[in-house]
């Protein structure tokens, strides 16, 4: 095949920007020494041991996973009905509604998250209304709820879009067939529409869970210093502590963790006999 040679630039790109950096991270994770000086490097499991021997780090990992799972579940509970309702509209209205969902994503991620500070802050809009009504201001920021809010707000479109796209592709004849065989609207949804939309749900879960479990910006801004996540820990190692070995080790641990989670989800997906598609 002559076309084979067209894949060369992509292979180069992949190696240069994905494979080599990934190998570097593995290399850093499995070595110790002065991060800025290659000659001091030696093979060691020290960073991995440091992580697993410290209950503090394990706790941060568990906390990150918990928050990511909760935000994924909230996104799913909110996102599925939204996707379903929009998919039922006529194509013209549908596109407008989806556009409205996507437009905020054109805004800078940081800016969108900052906006919540002015809403939820001590002198923010919500608290000033509460105070005008004569109540004490509420602690809306710098807690887990604020982090969850930030995650759900930022990642909800990633749940809605894949589910929406799968729902609109379901052959309408299948729904008619179910009704023909005696299924009312609820049974039709339970037995035909929902099972057929599972690939979209799985993609949505991956697309929300992965950024949520590794985020550091949302927890940084809305969670304050006391509520750090695994993403913040990794960021600290690279930006402030300068321990690239430990930072890389944590990255690898998080990556392996995500891989296991996704493998489990895709296994569940296959057992349900969903149609292909999705991230895995």
């Amino acid at each position: 095949m002559k076309f084979k040679r067209f894949t060369i630039p992509y292979i180069l790109w992949l190696s240069l920007f994905i494979v080599i950096p990934l190998l570097l991270i593995v290399f850093y994770a499995l070595s110790s020494g002065d991060s800025q000086n290659f000659s001091t490097f030696e093979f060691s499991f020290a960073s991995l041991e440091r992580f697993f021997s410290s209950p503090v780090y394990i706790k941060v990992l568990i906390r990150s996973v918990r928050l990511a799972v909760v935000s994924t579940v909230i996104c799913l509970i909110l996102g599925y009905p939204i996707a379903y309702i929009i998919s039922k509209e006529n194509p013209k209205k549908r596109n407008v509604l989806i556009l409205m969902f996507v437009i905020p994503m054109w805004m800078n991620f940081l800016l969108r998250t900052y906006a919540w500070l002015t809403l939820l802050g001590k002198s923010g809009i919500i608290n000033s209304i509460i105070m005008k009504l004569g109540f004490q201001p509420l602690e809306l920021l710098y807690n887990d709820t604020a982090i969850l809010l930030g995650m759900v707000y930022n990642f909800l479109p990633f749940m809605v879009l894949p589910i929406f796209s799968v729902l609109t592709k379901i052959d309408f004849k299948l729904i008619e067939a179910a009704e023909d065989l005696g299924a009312n609207k609820i049974t039709t949804f339970r037995r035909v529409v929902f099972p057929l939309s599972l690939p979209g749900v799985m993609t949505g879960i991956s697309m929300v869970f992965i950024p949520a479990v590794s985020t550091f910006v949302i927890s940084d801004l809305l969670g304050g210093s006391k509520a750090s996540l695994i993403g913040n820990l990794i960021e600290q190692q690279f930006r402030y502590t300068g321990d690239w070995h430990f930072g890389s080790a944590m990255s690898i641990i998080l990556m392996v963790f995500i891989l296991i989670t996704m493998a489990l989800t895709s296994k569940f997906d296959k057992e349900k006999e969903g149609e292909g598609g999705g991230l895995w």
């Binding site: 052959d171 299948l174 008619e176 009704e179 023909d180 005696g182």
Partner: protein, 351 residues
């Protein structure tokens, strides 16, 4: 033997955004009958079927099922099942669960479901396919599963929307026979939609010919073929020679400059008419004996017969015959009175 009406369509009209798709359809369907809605695409046959199934609500008119008005009843409450055009089998379920779908909804005990599914698989000749996935089946097999999935619910009426359209010719012929056999065995009313006239003639007890949202003719396959009510039906069912003629008086018609005896009456004196003659009804005789004379201009071998085009003055006759005449030969042609069908000239085909 007069059988009871199972479905009545009373004055059904259907409009989509101002376009009339069905125009005052009146039709009854008798119990255990194999009825075919036949017509070109866009004639309204599928819409009629969807109205019976409950997937569309007519703009006007009523659907009566065993004497009860079901116009407003949703599909899932009708004792009617459908075999869809592209089968519409559930891709996320295996063969067993596809067939069992309707029974599970009715909360029928597991062991009975199992029995019934197996019985259906036997009926459609696919024993042992329970655990197969839908995508692993061929088109013909999917077709059979779709029929089994509908029939297992023991509907009073089975609707079939061009179910054989996606199959190749040989398979289609096989399935035609099989469908007819299944219908006889289970004794359920079949309402069948197709644009294939041969399919309609082979399988049906009654054919309803439709065009432009109107019923053109209702009758048995033999009636429809031998006594088409208008030029549309004549053209659509089989092949026909349609020539202009003049009806001089009862049983006497003139066309191609000759006077012929025929079996039709009740026309005005010297009324302009259309004369329909089937290609196989033109007999080839020697040039001096025939009523008509012409030169063979083309011959095509069609398997059972030859198709010849014979030019007689400005008329080209199509003849189907087992006798072959060389191109350029002069032949005589005769037509028996009962094979000459006279039709009033109408611009829109009213009955």
């Amino acid at each position: 033997m007069e059988r009871q009406h199972i479905v009545d369509l009373n004055n059904i009209s259907m409009e989509y955004g101002g376009v009339t798709v069905l125009d005052n359809i009146n039709l009854y369907i008798k119990e255990n009958e194999f009825l075919t809605l036949l017509g070109p695409s866009g004639c309204g046959k599928t819409t009629t079927l969807r109205i019976i199934g409950g997937f569309e609500k007519p703009t006007k008119g009523k659907v009566i099922f065993e004497g009860k008005d079901i116009t407003e009843v949703p599909p899932y409450q009708r004792q009617i099942n459908t075999v869809f055009q592209k089968y519409a089998l559930f891709p996320h379920l295996d063969v067993f669960d596809n067939i069992a779908f309707g029974l599970k909804i009715k909360k029928i005990p597991r062991n009975i479901i199992k029995e019934k599914v197996q019985e259906m698989l036997r009926l459609v000749n696919l024993q042992g396919f329970e655990k197969r996935s839908i995508e692993s089946l061929s088109g013909g097999q999917q077709q059979r599963i779709a029929i089994a999935r509908a029939l297992v619910n023991e509907p009073r009426v089975l609707l079939l929307d061009e179910p054989l359209g996606a199959l190749d010719l040989k398979l289609r012929k096989e399935m035609q026979n099989e469908l007819k056999n299944i219908q006889k065995r289970v004794g359920i009313t079949f309402i069948y939609v197709t644009h294939d006239q041969e399919e309609a003639l082979t399988m049906s007890d009654t054919i309803v010919v439709m065009d432009k949202g109107k019923i053109q003719q209702i009758g048995t396959p033999i009636d429809i073929y031998n006594e088409p009510k208008n030029a549309f039906v004549a053209k659509f069912i089989g092949e026909s020679n349609i020539v202009n003629g003049i009806m001089h008086e009862d049983y006497v018609v003139e066309f191609s400059g000759k006077i012929f005896k025929c079996v039709d009456k009740g026309f005005l004196k010297d009324e302009d008419v259309e004369v329909v003659i089937r290609p196989e009804d033109v007999d080839i005789v020697s040039p001096d004996k025939g009523m008509l004379k012409g030169i063979v201009t083309s011959v095509t071998f069609k398997g059972v017969h030859y198709e010849m085009i014979v030019k007689d003055k400005d008329i080209e006759w199509m003849i189907h015959s087992t006798i072959m005449k060389e191109v350029g030969t002069e032949i005589g042609m005769d037509i028996l009175p009962e094979n000459i069908h006279i039709m009033r000239k109408v611009t829109n085909h009213e009955i």
